[in-house]
């Protein structure tokens, strides 16, 4: 199978920070808003280079979302930054009314999503945010897999008009997508072509899917791996084309099984071509404290879990 090199592990949030640094230089309408988490969101450079376009809101996320909506009225492109939990669940009604229903060009950028936030525990480990955001009409939902892709997605969002949710994470993970790969919102990326099973993965699970595909190859199973960075709008065509070939699918995400990528894929397949599917996702529970690796193992979100899901789904073909 095609080999992907880890170019040096980095955190996806640093990709966001690098994207903001570049946007600050090339688009004077971009403004950044942060709720007391400058270091965590890697806003340091943007703040230093463009203090007049950086807004420290304080620990007041509802106010931050409203202010961001207001900035769009003057033609600005606001990027808000805080942890994923405080970016979504805490401010759902503000996003719903002032951003989504009002069709405001706000980019809600969310770090520390999912279990890999680690030791802070379930209060901070949101596993419901993709579902919350994808249910909002008109909202674009993106979950990036590595540093390079997060940087590219951040930059691409400034040229996309409309509300968007960009989800990334805290831990250092392999950086393997090409630095010059164009980021096209809504367009899936084929990572490895295969014939026996389709693995549709998003976020931190994309690298795990590649490792799983190697392990499956050793067992004589040919896995197609698709990197779905945009959960909404979903690249229906790429998924349908792949399952027409493989006849079964495993979805993998760092999210609750309810409301995530897996359910979006299920809906697509149910409407078009009912297909056996297995889910690698959190089984409707909260997380807990632990290291990212321990948590991903306990909640079965790693490459072994993907291999097991593939073996289950192939039997159902």
């Amino acid at each position: 199978m095609k080999k992907y090199e880890n170019q040096g592990s980095k955190d996806t949030r640093s990709g966001f920070g690098a994207g903001m640094t570049e946007l600050g230089q090339k688009n004077e309408n971009v403004v950044a808003l942060c709720a007391d988490l400058i270091g965590s969101l890697k806003f340091d450079d943007f703040k230093k280079n463009h203090p007049e376009r950086f807004f420290q809101i304080g620990i007041a996320e509802a106010n931050m979302i409203g202010i961001a909506a207001g900035f769009t009225v003057g033609g600005k492109i606001p990027f808000t930054g805080t942890f994923a939990n405080f970016s979504t669940g805490r401010v759902y009604d503000q996003i719903r009314q002032s951003v989504a229903y009002s069709d405001k060009n706000v980019k809600i950028c969310a770090s520390h999503a999912g279990l890999t936030l680690g030791e802070d525990g379930a209060t901070h480990q949101i596993l419901e945010d993709i579902g919350l955001m994808k249910m909002l009409p008109g909202m674009t939902v993106i979950n990036t897999c590595d540093y390079n892709q997060t940087k590219a997605a951040t930059i691409a969002l400034a040229d996309h008009h409309g509300p968007a949710y960009l989800r990334f994470g805290r831990p250092v993970v392999p950086n393997f997508t090409p630095a010059d790969e164009p980021f096209v919102i809504g367009k899936a990326i084929m990572l490895n072509e295969g014939t026996d099973v389709t693995i549709v993965a998003t976020g931190h699970l994309v690298w795990e899917a590649l490792i799983a595909a190697e392990a499956l190859e050793a067992k004589g199973i040919s896995a197609e791996v698709i990197n779905i960075h945009t959960i909404k709008p979903l690249d229906d065509e790429a998924i349908l084309k792949s399952v027409a070939k493989t006849g079964c699918v495993v979805t993998a995400e760092e999210h609750n099984i309810l409301g995530g990528l897996g359910e979006s894929v299920s809906r697509l397949l149910a409407l078009n071509t009912p297909t056996p599917q297995e889910f690698v996702a959190v089984n409707d529970s909260f997380g807990e404290s632990g290291t990212p690796e321990q948590l991903m193992e306990k909640y079965k979100l790693n490459n072994q879990a993907i291999v097991e899901a593939v073996e289950r789904v192939i039997k159902r073909k």
Binding site: I57, I67, G70, V73, Q97, Y101, S102, D103
Partner: protein, 281 residues
């Protein structure tokens, strides 16, 4: 005809619009709308610097954000009669396929509306963002906002109030409609807020009181004073003492008409107290 007389006539017609709109669909919020008829009239017919036509960015003009979106009838009537959309469209209020939704929205493209409101407590934050955008754009115009008094029970307002003074958002005039009423009763009964004035002052805002919030001359004087206080490092708050249901005798001195439409007979009675001035829609 004096300017004040013209504004009075405008206000009377707005009251007729409110009553007829709410009656036609047997739903909506007449009480707060009637209480703010003079304020909206002064805002759009006297005070605000407005460009012809409408664009969302509103660069080079004053902006207004309505946070307590349930008083949409007064907002729609004044917008229509200020030229943002045909007055005849008021007849579609709250009906299927209308741009005049129960609560204001940008979603249907109604000119004059820059944000959706209805879920309370969000408008002040949006107005602050728009005011800061004006500063970035070197646009020397003012952003106005209106919130209800009961609406101040929503915590987001206090995040916004704290932020606006800390960040010196001094191109913002936030008016509070102090009618003392909310759905379940008086604001004192439901959740006594104590002195709203003392609270805003404690958050380091410049506060102006308009004691007669249904008197056009008093509103002009108070809002002119408020405008003079902009640009001096502090956000400006106007406490507008209004009478819910003002202009219709049986709708005043009660919270009963917060969200209730008049019957046929009540409408006739109310309209007789507000004879047509500019022609009904």
């Amino acid at each position: 005809m004096s300017d004040i007389q013209q504004l009075t006539n405008f206000t009377t017609q707005v009251r007729r619009d409110i009553l007829r709109m709410v009656h036609a669909v047997n739903s909506g919020h007449p009480g707060g709308s009637l209480g703010c008829a003079e304020f909206f009239t002064v805002l759009y017919q006297h005070l605000m610097v407005r460009k012809p036509g409408f664009d969302m960015d509103g660069i080079g003009e004053d902006l207004f954000f309505l946070s307590n979106g349930h008083i949409s009838p007064v907002f729609y009537s004044v917008l229509a009669r200020s030229g943002y959309f045909p007055v005849s469209e008021l007849a579609t209020f709250r009906k299927l396929n209308s741009r005049l939704q129960g609560h204001p929205t940008t979603h249907e493209g109604l000119p004059g509306v820059r944000m959706a409101s209805g879920s309370l407590g969000q408008g002040l934050s949006v107005a602050i963002g728009a005011a800061q955008a004006k500063k970035l754009n070197n646009d020397n115009h003012i952003v106005y906002a209106l919130t209800g008094d009961g609406e101040l029970q929503e915590g987001q307002n206090w995040e916004a109030i704290m932020y606006a003074s800390a960040k010196k958002v001094d191109n913002l005039i936030a008016t509070v409609d102090l009618n003392g009423q909310q759905i379940d009763g008086s604001t004192d009964e439901v959740l006594n807020m104590g002195s709203v004035k003392a609270k805003f002052e404690a958050f380091d805002w410049d506060v102006i009181e308009i004691k007669e919030g249904n008197n056009i001359e008093a509103i002009i004087a108070g809002m002119t004073e408020a405008k003079a206080k902009t640009g001096k490092g502090k956000p400006v708050c106007v406490l507008l003492h209004t009478e819910m249901g003002n202009g219709v005798d049986f709708m005043m001195h009660t919270h009963a008409w917060h969200g209730k439409a008049p019957s046929n007979e009540q409408l006739e009675n109310a309209l007789n107290q507000n004879p047509a001035t500019l022609g009904d829609y």
